[in-house]
Amino acid sequence: MTDAPTLPNYRYVSRKRRTKEDRRFITGRGKFVADVEVPGMKHVAVLPSPHPRANILDIDTSAAMALPGVHYVLTGDELAAETNSLFHGLDLPNVIWHPLAVGMTRYAGEWVAAVVADSRYIAEDAAELIEVDYESLPAAVDSEKMIDGDQPLVHPDHGSNVLFRKTWEWGPVEEDFEAMPHAVSYRARWGRSSTVPIETFGVVAKWDEITEIMDVWASIQMPQYQDQIAAALGMPMNNVRVHNDVDVGGSYGVKRGIKHTVLVSYLAKRLGFPVRFIEDRLDNMSGGDAHGPDRIFDITMAFDDDGVIKSMKIRALDDVGAYPGRAPLQLGKPMTALCGPYRVNSIEYEAISVTSNKTGQVPVRGFGQSPTNFAIETGLERVAKYLGLDRVEVRARNLVRKDEFPWKIPPGSLYDSGDFHAVLESAIKTSNWDDLIARRDALRAEGKLAGVGITTCLEPGGGNNIFEYLFNPKLEITTFVESVLIKVEPTGAITAVMCTTTSGQGHETMVSTIAGEELERDPDTIRVVHGDSLEALPTRSPVASRMTIVLGTATSNAAREIKDKMITIAAYDLGIEKDQVEYADGEFSVRGAPERKLSWAQICHIAHKQFHRMPPGHELGLQAYSVQQVPGAGQLPNEKNEVPLYPCFSFQAHVPLVEIDPDTGKVKLHDYFIAHDCGTAINPDIVRGMIIGGVAHGVGAALYEKFEYDQDGQLLAGTFVDYLLPSAHEIPPVTDIEHCTPSPITSLGQKGSGEGGYLGAPAAVASAVNDALSPYDIEINELPIRARDIEAALHEKTN
């Protein structure tokens, strides 16, 4: 559905159009990493540590090596001696990370050795024959205890399990707190879940000693992938060729297999033949370092009698597991929208990142924003409850108003545009809020537990990662660039070269639609390819809800440049001024004399082959590239630590209805309504899929998914039997409604949409569950809220 103020009259943009990518997927022709077959390639299996923390005393690989079909067994000592350690976002010189454990294992599942064999079957047989002598040690698993220092040290040389701790204050926090008559304090906890794509991570590497090129095919979604491979292998970046045309079977942030890649690249070079490693599901869930945030928030909000929030104090403690990588920076991104869509005057933010003997954390959809949104929304619920106000009304009173954009929040972000009240209103209308409350009450009257949830939520898009600098001044990076090259062939056909991988976001559709719109050519005739990393222009990969914003704007710019070149050629050939050329539908005509014209094909022919008809001083051919900066980015933080972070802000309001079985605690989602504004939707079906898929992902985080550990540090969820992904049974029908407030800072008003569903759904579902539990005066602010948690809470209240 669309709740649209009238859109510009686009031909292709915002129209129902089939995607470019789907055709290969419905026919089984996608090229995923496990489909890549390189002649002569051998297969890797890894040996995981059974201990959360142990010294490795000895590794005996002889029996494994002796097995027929085995080519090599690699251990951590050799790999560490021959490659450089892996990159961390924080400046942590004494936290050393290698793909295989060196001297000590730091979590159950960490890889201790890797076998290369003729088949994965043989490699797994051989892995079982490796004998490792461990000295098991007590593990550090309780994140809160890390701060006091009474847990075993995960990285003894670092001297503490605290990796980062810092407090920022933006605005007059104490003053605002004193001025406000009320304050509520609460704790909200986000469980260790992740995105868990159906395709695990995989990588194939091939080294050619003559050309000295390391070819890499991987299921990757990661900025600076080739930079980090080259750095770890100690070779220049132009010796590494990452094939970006591999279809990635879902990622949502986590496909960051740098350690896997260094491992197989090293093996391919060492052994002289191509090597492939495809994680199995247990590899992925335990040793793959693909867990997500694991956070405790302690928050106080200060507000007036009307429920208008003036100030917030937020403390976020995050457990990043054994090897931090870029994970601690996930505490930084939420600064982009630290007070959500609300008009807060000042904020204190303490971010603490600790290491533990658990699987490593990687970026997850929203880069830390979803836990933060959940924590903020929990506060809005608290404020409403404290004052006895309506939950919707409290949100409406705090939302930034339509006429206030661009709105600057205390940490410095500029909210570009929006109409938050209209979107909230639209969610209330679409959900028939009063009817929904009546349905809830009818269920309650039947003796059931039922609740309606409400959440409003921002989705920052665009990915200016200058917050990294606030965590590590060595990361003085003030851009997050993306590029495209568009060329028009002599015969008129258009090809666009994008520079990174795709993991379901439909970039080929997006680029071809925008290029088609700008050039007035049918997007179906525009080919979009993924240049490999040696051919590609600068990229930071498809993260941060940024491709439509940055790659989309780059596409507009390149297409406009081509159009301008064509008009220049036409003007010269027709003997008129440029501004006398009229372009429409592939024809360049003289204004006022439409019979004098040149066709698209004629201009292409001139540009490529008829130098004598070209305006002097102009480049031959028809090509343009655009290297696009994040709109509004390019500054370091000022002395108050304020800096504009992400440039574009999408907005949603979520309304679910839940029923809870009072005996089992099982939650059933009856309905889910979401009103959504991501500016100009380039392809409505793709946007809709992203929103609904994001909601489903958020429902998982809210109700089912957790990488549970026991008190000794053993992972209890290594399969789909114990880590529960929602199926079509658990996900309700979602009614979505689009609102459109075009962004003033992108080429066609587009904003991001890949994360929004996931950023709001956990808070919305928690809101509904707590509404259902409110007659019992139960409030659960720890996700996931599993049936057994509800059952236990009800049991306690009723006994």
Binding site: I26, G28, Y121, D685, A728
Partner: protein, 161 residues
């Protein structure tokens, strides 16, 4: 290791292959026959990415050995299109409704949906959700898949969408 000769009828073609007895059916399809449209998501029977038609019934090819399929008929996603490569109405509806994002679960979803429609030409949303509930999709939240199956059924009944 011992090898076994078997013949599978895959997508209407008899394929004689030699495999180790412990090789799973999905590995045989993908790595021996190079039919890589069928995917692997968990190898423990939960995700459904490896679903194929086995004598007309959907099965999880990660839970079977290739040797168990000796002499049986298998249809993979590559066999859903007709001989001239014309995609089936179900595939077309998946495309029309954008019933996927990354496409990784899609072959399994097509198999599960095809099996449903063969049995029940007029499924309601609940029937469809039931039929695909053994197939996990992390991208879509299932809704556009449900819509695609419904559209196929409507088109088969001649109902205009």
């Amino acid at each position: 290791m011992k090898q076994v000769e078997i013949t599978l009828n895959v997508n209407g073609r008899a394929c004689a292959v030699t495999v180790p007895p412990r090789m799973t059916l999905v590995d045989c399809l993908r790595d021996v026959l190079r039919l890589t449209g069928t995917h692997v998501g968990c190898e423990h029977g939960i995700c459904g990415a490896c679903s194929v038609m086995f004598d007309g019934e959907p099965v999880r090819s990660c839970l079977m050995f290739a040797v168990q399929a000796d002499g049986h008929a298998i249809t993979t996603v590559e066999g859903l299109a007709d001989e001239d490569g014309e995609i089936s109405d179900l595939q077309d509806s998946f495309w029309e409704c954008h019933a996927m994002q990354c496409g990784y679960c899609t072959p399994g979803m097509l198999v599960a949906s095809q099996a449903l429609l063969a049995e029940n030409p007029n499924p309601d949303d609940g029937d469809i959700r039931e039929a695909i509930s053994g197939n996990l999709c992390r991208c879509t939240g299932y809704q556009q898949i449900v819509e695609a199956v419904k559209l196929t059924a409507q088109r088969r009944r001649g109902v205009r969408s």
